[in-house]
């Protein structure tokens, strides 16, 4: 009985839960620590508290509609995820973005790299105890977020890189402000380094913590600065260049010992390299179009629909009595419930409820809908008269284009069948997109290989034998973001 009692009351190993709600776990990561005194014996990470089903959701949306979902993956550097997605889908379609668009995408990609490393430094230092660095890094980050807002209107979840190019062109003041940023940024990095680089406390907390050798790191599937800190020269920007990375000259920092301090130094030097890349890109930016010319695969600009969609045209939608068969399709399609009519009787649109959205026009198979320019405000009889006659030619052309556009957005383009794996270098590592296409406009399988998922799996290996405080340093150094880890 004494043995039984000893087994039940075994007090050597303690089981502690670092729960999903914790100021230092960078999101909702749950760690169950088995500790012996203060030393860690085993760490079991539990992820999945932010699993939103993005892969399954992507299967029910078309390629263009699934693009905003990728913003929410690694929400700290949203531009990089979008670029990864666009590069993969462009390769699948077989189209190529124009030069200017590639350069602009590389510019925003490098800006997002700087923004990500700033946030990494802020939270890593805050967890270890250096709180001033948090405030300093956010000051720089606000500048970058203001620049994002200047080009596309959003700070965090931008959807600026599009399949085939970018959404809109960059204004000149953006480039001027970015040039000024690259002038001042090296001195700011020096500020951060002065605070922590040779600081005794920082060195004691990071040197020799979380050491992993090069072969082991590759075997565990690590990528990005987390891998390069161990001495492996793997950078997708050099191995498999995409966008404009083969046109700029930059070096890649490689560490030697593979501990937390080396990974920290790698990322600081990477920020300087990104600054350098930005300067080269701004100087070399070519002129030209910003969207690829591939009418089979891409949405065409909406200028063709201007005769219909421009608000000053004051269009009225009228149903021609003779042509209307009374099938009721437009009645069901109208979002404002402005169409009235019995079955098999000609339907009527009530003009004051009509939103001029065009849903009825694209649904009608009998071409009974007519668009009258300048028709807003006319009486019912006048409209009926005009509807009986032919539509002006520009309206007919624009209306045909509208039907084609509608079908394209609803069903997606006709994509060749096949499968594809494309990887890009996001600030955290290697983000891979694996698409399986079955010929329709929606991906049959959209798989996201996220670096944070793999790195969170390496945590047990890194934390073994260290103290509880080192767990915090290790979480910071592998740079995970739970939105990407759980998808």
């Amino acid at each position: 009985m004494i043995e039984e009692a000893e087994k039940i009351f075994d007090t050597r190993e303690l089981n502690v839960n670092m729960g999903p709600q914790h100021p230092a776990t960078h999101g909702v990561l749950r760690l169950v620590l088995d500790i012996d005194g203060e030393t860690i014996v085993k760490v079991t990470p539990h992820v999945g508290y932010l699993h939103r089903g993005i892969e399954k959701l992507g299967e029910s949306l078309s390629y263009f509609q699934a693009l905003p979902l990728t913003d929410r993956l690694d929400y700290v550097s949203a531009m990089s995820n979008n670029i990864g997605y666009c590069v993969a889908v462009e390769k699948l379609f077989g189209i190529e973005a124009p030069e200017r668009a590639k350069f602009i995408r590389t510019i925003v990609g490098e800006m997002s790299r700087i923004s990500n490393h700033l946030l990494w430094l802020a939270t890593h230092a805050l967890d270890i105890g250096a709180m001033t660095v948090f405030i300093y890094c956010f000051r720089e980050r606000e500048w970058i977020l203001d620049l994002y807002e200047m080009i596309c209107g959003a700070r965090l979840t931008v959807t600026y890189p599009r399949v085939g190019g970018v959404r809109n062109d960059v204004p000149q003041e953006f480039l001027d402000s970015l040039w000024k940023f690259t002038d001042e940024f090296p001195s700011r990095i020096l500020e951060y380094e002065t605070l922590i680089d040779q600081n005794r406390i920082w060195l004691q907390r990071t040197v020799g913590i979380g050491v992993i050798s090069a072969e082991e790191a590759v075997n565990w599937g690590m990528t990005g600065p987390t891998l390069r800190g161990s001495g492996v020269p793997y950078d997708i920007r050099k191995h498999m260049p995409y966008d404009a990375y083969d046109k700029v000259d930059f070096e890649v920092p490689i560490g030697t010992t593979g501990d937390t301090y080396d990974r920290y130094r790698c990322r600081m030097l990477e920020m300087r390299q990104s600054n350098n890349i930005l300067r080269q890109l701004i100087e070399k930016l070519p002129a030209g179009p910003i969207m690829a010319d591939a009418p089979k695969f891409l949405l065409q600009p909406k200028d063709m629909m201007m005769p219909i969609t421009h608000p000053t045209k004051e269009l009225a939608y009228v149903i021609e009595e003779k042509a209307c068969k009374g099938c009721g399709m437009c009645l069901r399609a109208c979002p404002a419930k402005a169409i009235f009519g019995e079955k098999k009787q000609p339907h009527v649109i009530k003009q004051d409820l009509c939103l001029q959205c065009g849903n009825c026009f694209v649904t009608c198979k009998f071409k009974a809908l007519k668009l009258i320019p300048g028709g807003k405000g006319m009486s019912e009889e006048q409209l009926k008269e005009l509807a009986a006659g032919p539509m002006p030619e520009e309206i007919t052309k624009a209306a045909e284009y509208m039907v084609k556009h509608f079908e394209f957005v609803k069903k997606g383009p006709k994509v060749p069948e096949g499968e594809l794996y494309v990887a890009t270098e996001v600030p955290k590592g290697e983000l891979g997109f694996y698409f399986v296409s079955d010929g329709s406009g929606k991906p049959f399988r959209m798989r996201l290989r996220s670096p944070s998922f793999i790195h969170a799996g390496v945590l047990p290996r890194l934390c073994k034998g260290h103290l509880i405080a080192d767990v915090i340093a290790n979480i910071g150094t592998i740079d995970i973001v739970l939105g990407e880890c759980d998808r």
Binding site: G19, P20, Q21, H22, P23, G27, V28, G48, Y49, L50, H51, R52, G53, I54, K56, L57, P68, L69, R72, Y75, V76, L119, F134, I135, F138, R139, R141, E142, L145, R155, L156, T157, L482, G483
Partner: protein
Amino acid sequence: MIDTSAMGLIQVEKDVKILPPNIIITSFDKIINWGRLSSMWPTTFGLACCAIEMMAAGAAHNDLDRFGIIFRGSPRQADCVIVAGTVTKKMAPVVRRVYDQIPEPRYVIAMGSCACTGGVFRTYSTVQGCDSFLPVDVYVPGCPPRPETLLEGLMMLQEKIRNEKARWSPWR
């Protein structure tokens, strides 16, 4: 109402009178509500992307500290919870548990579209709005909402607290 102007009382605003130089006469409601709204301490509950904008609201550019808002780590020392980000079904018990641990009076701000109504993610694992299991006071929509929007949400919560009646009393 008693006419108090003859006694030298000055009315500053409704129900707040000052007897110069240093005696203030007001109701319990006003003073307790003023104390609560001026030092609202949220517990850190950043789940997803909205957490980054919450951190940006707390950083130097838009400072939350000037409103008396300090982020506390433990729910036992906090006043309110800002649910920032998507709530998944796996996380829902944890959110409810943290909310239950906050001592009264407590408030909930649902920040971001995902916390308000589930957002973009209409899937098998996302809760369609955290108000299915939490009593929400203020909804701050946006994806993510700008720091200024979150500030406006906090101002609205302050207004709500200002107009509360007798929440401190045992007769409510």
